[in-house]
């Protein structure tokens, strides 16, 4: 059995220190509390005392226990785990960007403001929208922002009774959650036998209470919603709006734009489509773009270009207000902007083409070995089902995922979308070469074989990782979310 990795607190030794600060050159005997004893901390601080090498070894060892896109294939559906070009890190760390304070006057921030302004222009070009905000920190906050824009639009028109948001049963979980916390009532609409949103199911909801619909296109099955123009027309005629969840934009850049499909509000995930690193769960960025009729409601501050100067303005009386404490994850915006300039129009279209080609290539090869419930030309991803395999062998999608870990491959997204039992959602992205894809197919075929011959091997997987399968029930039943000093 491998050793447990010690915690920082277990490695710490009294008296060690990892850093030397400059000696203070002012008299340190001054007290800051003006004699108000109640303001002083009573309890010990408890932070660990470590040397610099202790700290560096600790994190180097932890890094060793972490998979990432720089190590290998990461076909995590709907997450667009593409390679993150290294120049993005260098530009984001330019001192002029990094050391700018958010309360400096606009005159001091012209470089960053120009970048932000031009980024909005370019994202609008890619999506076919008119203007936007870069404040949302992530896709889910973009969705929330979009839903607040819907609310403001209807309130402005005196249509406060429009509270109903339609969300397909194949939607990302954040969609219904965001609509709900923004004050809407969520109604699920069914997917049809093609795996697309059913126009019939939408028609049942077209009334004066309809606020709109949230869609991902291509959807989470990787299928392009072929009825999108009819859906847009029906929703608009009923007085509703269309929201575009941009998680899957990587499939269609340079081919078709959400604005041309009829969407009124779009959010993008810069940490997916625009190659900014995901950081183990953020920081991301979820810009929101709108068409002309929703523009006046965008968050403040808005960025304006006036005679070649860039200004921030709060003078937007119909605005939904502030989304971020300052201006969002500006460091992430610099990375995405770098990527956009590097790729250009040709590069972005090529990225989508290759992402779609890679996905279809895998789909064709894997459907011979795993059940493909919706067998059609896909876009950037597709969804297999392990349900039949499970029936025959007892091996589940989770077992397959865990076995892939032994092969040093990140598994697909499993158990999503919810409309496919034992789902395995595979998104290879444009990053991967034919060799990597062929290797993946080979591994998946081998695993299917193992499932039939020695299913216990899959139930027991993984075995080559730093820890074996975890007891998630125990973690939730008796939650321990912080270390406590042993008594």
């Amino acid at each position: 059995m491998k050793d447990e990795r010690p915690l920082l607190f277990e490695t710490a030794r009294e008296g060690r220190t990892g850093y030397r600060l400059p000696d203070s050159d002012v008299d340190m005997r001054v007290t800051a509390t003006r004699g108000e004893r109640a303001l002083v901390r009573q309890s010990p601080l408890g932070l660990p005392s470590l040397s610099e090498v202790d700290v560096v070894r600790h994190y180097t060892n932890l890094a060793h226990d972490n998979y990432c896109i720089d190590l290998g294939f990461y076909p995590l559906g709907s997450c667009t785990m593409k390679y993150n070009p290294k120049v993005n890190e260098e530009t984001a760390r330019l001192p002029g960007f990094e050391n700018l304070h958010p309360l400096q006057p606009e005159a001091d921030a012209q470089g960053t403001l120009e970048l932000m302004h031009d980024l909005i222009v370019r994202l609008c070009t890619i999506t076919g929208m008119k203007w936007g905000t870069l404040q949302p920190f992530a896709g889910a906050q973009g969705e929330f922002t979009g839903m607040r824009l819907f609310r403001a639009y209807f309130d402005h028109r005196g249509e406060g009774e429009r509270t109903k948001i339609l969300v397909p049963d194949s939607a990302h979980g954040t969609n219904p959650a965001s609509a709900h916390i923004a004050g809407f009532e969520v109604h699920e609409v069914k997917s049809d036998r093609r795996g697309m949103v059913s126009l019939e199911s939408i028609r049942e909801h077209l009334d004066e209470r309809l606020a709109g619909i949230m869609l991902t296109n291509p959807n989470t099955l990787g299928l392009f919603e072929e009825d999108i123009l009819e859906i847009a027309q029906a929703v608009h005629e009923a007085g509703g709006l269309l929201y575009y969840d941009g998680a899957n934009l990587n499939a269609i850049m340079g081919k078709v734009r959400p604005g041309d499909m009829g969407f009124d509000v779009v959010h993008l995930n810069l940490h997916k489509t625009f190659s900014t690193p995901h950081g183990g769960g953020g920081p991301g960025s979820g810009p929101v773009l709108v068409n002309e009729r929703l523009r006046r409601f965008l968050p403040i501050p808005d960025i304006q270009a006036v005679d070649g100067r860039f200004l921030l303005t709060n003078d937007r009386p119909d605005s939904i207000g502030r989304i971020s404490g300052f201006y969002g994850n500006v460091g992430v915006l610099v990375r995405a902007y770098t990527y956009l300039l590097t790729m250009g129009a040709d590069g972005l279209a090529a990225a989508s083409e290759r992402a779609v080609l890679n996905a279809n290539y895998l789909r064709e090869l894997l459907k011979k070995h795993y059940h493909l419930p919706f067998d059609a030309l896909c876009k950037h991803e597709f969804v297999l089902s392990a349900a039949k395999l499970k029936e025959a062998t007892g091996v589940s999608a989770l077992d397959i995922a865990k076995r892939l870990l032994d092969y040093r491959i990140h598994p697909p997204t499993v158990y999503f979308p919810l409309i496919v039992p034992e789902a395995m959602m595979i998104e290879p992205t444009e990053t991967e070469s034919k060799e990597v894809l062929d290797g993946f197919v080979e591994t998946m075929v081998e695993i299917a074989e193992e499932a039939r011959k020695s299913p216990e091997k899959l139930h027991d997987a993984p075995s080559a990782t730093s820890v074996r399968r975890l007891d998630e029930v125990l973690a939730a039943k008796k939650p321990v979310v912080a270390w406590r000093r042993p008594l």
Binding site: L62, L100, Q141, G281, G321, L474, V481
Partner: protein, 442 residues
């Protein structure tokens, strides 16, 4: 590959898109460029920002020293280029690091449980209020102090306006949230009272009696605190808080024009299952070995969908990691030193200004590393003239919409200046600041 797919051109892969909306000529953007050209373009843009002045500017983002270890660890691709750790067996690195981050945020705030980070300090306040609204089902009111950062107030309004939730501001007197006013405003339908210390003006507030009042009406007591201050000053737990929140930019991050930073949220144990966002928990693997995993996921959007109380998915994991590296590098002793040097140097500058110049304290409260003074002239002029002399002198708190905190008769606060000092500033820089201000006030 196309042959396998049964297509003869790549374009055919897009035949499922209705032809009337297919882009005929591609995107109206210029073609791609080389790395070197792009880097140079970005470098030139970055040079159009002014970052060469000595900073005494705070207001939510502070200029602390960043140890080399932080940048080193954040550059490791194993952390930077990983997705959210859904597959725990190959993600023990980030999971353990976040577990340690959660532990250290609990140590700092004195509370029992922490999540894995939130977007920023403002969104953390919103989420803390949501914990309050969930905890008291009859509640529909949030009380917040007038001394809260005005941008945080605005974010609160954006989140709760039109959702049947009342937001009410508690007045402050002399830079301190009023306890009598709080008592008066409190009712059985109050979800939470939100206060901030050090507050927007830099004042350390005294919250004696607030928690008792809140609890007597079934409301949560939420304290927003600059976590750097907690190395020396009274913790949210010691004030009786149920939830503590704030922004962790101070732990190892440059200002970055406001982000990325991260929000923290810690709480008393009983609120664990109402916490928003990701939480890392300890468990064991099949061999009984200690390991870490994203836990309590039944709270989250991908399980609960429209019944979820928070929609958070991606947050600020890499920033939380950087915060942990910062805290581990400095340790208890180092953090206390940063905290006390910042406090003492701020006091030193304050006393030098008071001795040499015709300026007054705007508020009689003690402060940590930031304080507000009243100038004999509009602060805008002073900020501009100090800027020419090479200093970011601070900010005028009335430039953001602060409501009724400042006495309207006194030039609507246009003569106020809020100044921050960190351990990074030397005595020479502070003396330089004093003489530059002397010149500015001539």
């Amino acid at each position: 590959m196309l042959a396998v797919v049964g297509k003869s051109t790549v374009e055919e892969l897009f035949d499922d898109i209705p032809s009337d909306i297919r882009l005929k000529n591609g995107l109206a953007l210029e073609p791609g460029k080389s790395e070197w050209e792009v880097y140079n373009h970005l470098r030139r843009l970055s040079e159009r920002n002014r970052v060469d002045r000595i900073s005494f500017l705070g207001g939510g983002a502070y200029d602390h020293i960043v140890p080399a270890t932080v940048r080193h660890v954040l550059s490791k691709p194993e952390f930077a280029t990983a997705y959210t750790p859904y597959q725990a067996e190959i993600s023990q690195g980030i999971l353990q690091a976040i577990f340690e981050y959660q532990t250290m945020m609990c140590m700092l705030t004195g509370l029992d449980v922490s999540n894995a980070s939130l977007y920023d300090g403002a969104s953390a306040v919103v989420e803390a209020c949501s914990v309050g609204l969930q905890s008291n089902r009859r509640s529909n009111r949030i009380l917040y102090s007038a001394t809260l950062h005005p941008n945080v107030k605005r974010v609160l309004v954006t989140n709760y306006r039109g959702r049947g939730i009342e937001l009410e501001e508690i007045p402050a007197i002399d830079g301190q949230t009023s306890l009598p006013a709080t008592k008066e405003l409190l009712s059985e339908t109050t979800a939470a009272i939100v206060v901030q210390s050090p507050n927007y003006f830099g004042c350390l507030e005294n919250f004696e009696g607030f928690a008792e009042e809140a609890h007597s009406r079934g409301a949560l007591f939420v304290v927003s605190a600059n976590p750097m201050s907690l190395a020396l000053f009274r913790t949210p737990a010691e004030w009786g808080a149920d939830v503590a929140v704030g922004d962790t930019q101070v732990f190892g991050f440059p200002a970055n024009y406001g982000g990325p930073s991260a929000g923290y949220i810690t709480a008393r144990e009983e609120y664990l299952r109402k916490m928003p966002g990701r939480i890392v928990g300890q468990t064991v693997d099949r061999d009984g070995r200690r390991a870490f995993v994203l836990t309590l996921q039944a709270r989250e959007q991908h399980i609960k969908r429209e019944r979820a109380t928070s929609n958070i998915c991606t947050n600020q994991a890499l920033v939380a990691l950087g915060n942990a590296v910062y805290l581990a590098t400095l340790g208890a002793e180092g953090l206390r030193e940063v905290c006390s040097q910042s406090a003492v140097k701020a006091q030193y500058l304050h006393d030098r200004l008071a001795a040499e110049l015709p300026v007054d304290d705007a508020f009689p409260r003690p402060f940590f590393n930031e304080f507000t003074i009243r100038l004999p002239t509009p602060s805008r002029n002073v900020i501009e003239s100090m800027s020419r002399a090479g200093y970011l002198a601070g900010f005028c708190p009335a430039d953001l919409d602060v409501g009724a905190v400042i006495d309207e008769h006194e030039a609507e606060g246009k003569d106020l200046l809020t100044i921050a000092v960190t351990e990074k500033r030397t005595r020479e820089e502070i003396e330089g600041f004093v003489s530059a201000m002397k010149d500015a006030l001539k």
